[in-house]
């Protein structure tokens, strides 16, 4: 269903109560608590990668600085701004859904997905440039630009794992946002599952937050 075919005016919102819950409020809180606990485990996963990058920086500053300078600082900064804007559109989707504005919710979610896609395209271009500049030490068949600084390969490998894992999370996020935008466009969705948009919003903001740590840890510190 195209966004223009969706009713513009406010529709009823609510949550269909599952049998294990007594009230809508209880179900809303349980859903958010579950998401927060999962996000905490995700934070642990990413924290290990950040820690590896910081330790390599501390132990081998002479090797890491040239590697960090090879990263595309401008693309990293632009991508941070893109994700900040996507968080705003996600907040817009949440507020629109709370007000029952079905079309507005769908449009905000589409904008969010579009910004997420722009991030991924920029990241893909950055990977291409890295490949072009021989900055992929894990490719045994291709010479590595900083082969004379073996410790830099550890940092660059960690960069690919951290940004690749973040990219995987973002790709999943874009897919879920698009599917949910399609669902929101269908009659009665906001009346039964409005809280799902808020839970998805937590995930999206968290992806944004993780990138806010990735950018300084990999691109910025001690350039």
């Amino acid at each position: 269903m195209s966004a223009s075919a969706i009713p513009a005016g406010p529709v009823q919102i609510g949550v269909e109560i599952e049998e294990q819950f007594h009230t809508e409020k209880q179900q809303r809180h349980a859903a958010k608590l579950g998401m927060w606990i999962w996000l905490a485990t995700e934070l642990l996963l990413f924290a290990g990668l950040f820690l590896v990058a910081l330790i390599i920086r501390v132990q081998h500053p002479d090797a890491v600085t040239p590697a960090a300078r090879h990263l595309k600082f401008a693309i990293g900064a632009t991508n941070t701004a893109v994700l900040i804007l996507s968080s705003l559109s996600m907040s817009g989707a949440i507020e629109m859904s709370r007000m029952g504005w079905q079309r507005g919710t769908v449009r905000c979610m589409q904008v969010t997905a579009a910004l997420g896609t722009i991030f991924l395209l920029l990241k893909g271009f950055e990977y291409y440039k890295d490949f072009d500049e021989h900055m992929m030490p894990f490719l045994a068949w291709r010479p590595y630009e900083l082969a004379h600084l073996p410790a830099s390969a550890l940092f660059v490998d960690d960069y690919y794992v951290a940004t690749g894992l973040h990219g995987l999370h973002l790709t999943t996020g874009v897919a879920i946002v698009l599917v949910m935008a399609w669902q929101v466009g269908r009659p009665g969705y906001l009346a039964r599952h409005q809280n799902r948009i808020e839970v998805l919003g937590l995930y999206w903001h968290f992806i944004d937050l993780i990138w806010m740590i990735v950018f300084p840890v990999l691109y910025l510190l001690n350039r």
Binding site: H29, I37, L39, A47, Q59, A77, S91, E95, M96, R223
Partner: protein
Amino acid sequence: MTADEKHELRRRMRPPAFATLALMLLLAVNVTLGILVPFRHVWIVETLVVIAMILTVLLVSMELPREPPVIRFFAGIGFCWVGFLVAMTLVDYLTR
């Protein structure tokens, strides 16, 4: 959308809009520091800016203060626990 509804939407969107503005400004500060590197220990300022950005997302975008105590507790525990782990590990490496 009526005038009242527009007013209501503007009222609701004010915090996320201010958060976006603040995050962009903080990003601009860090990017400028990253380009200029004005002094040797600039990483301390950059780290403080990142902490401010994280807090902005947690408190405004993720609406943590509006959540019930149990959610605030688990969210707080999650971030503080990771903070302790990272800090303890880095203290070890930085003081060798």
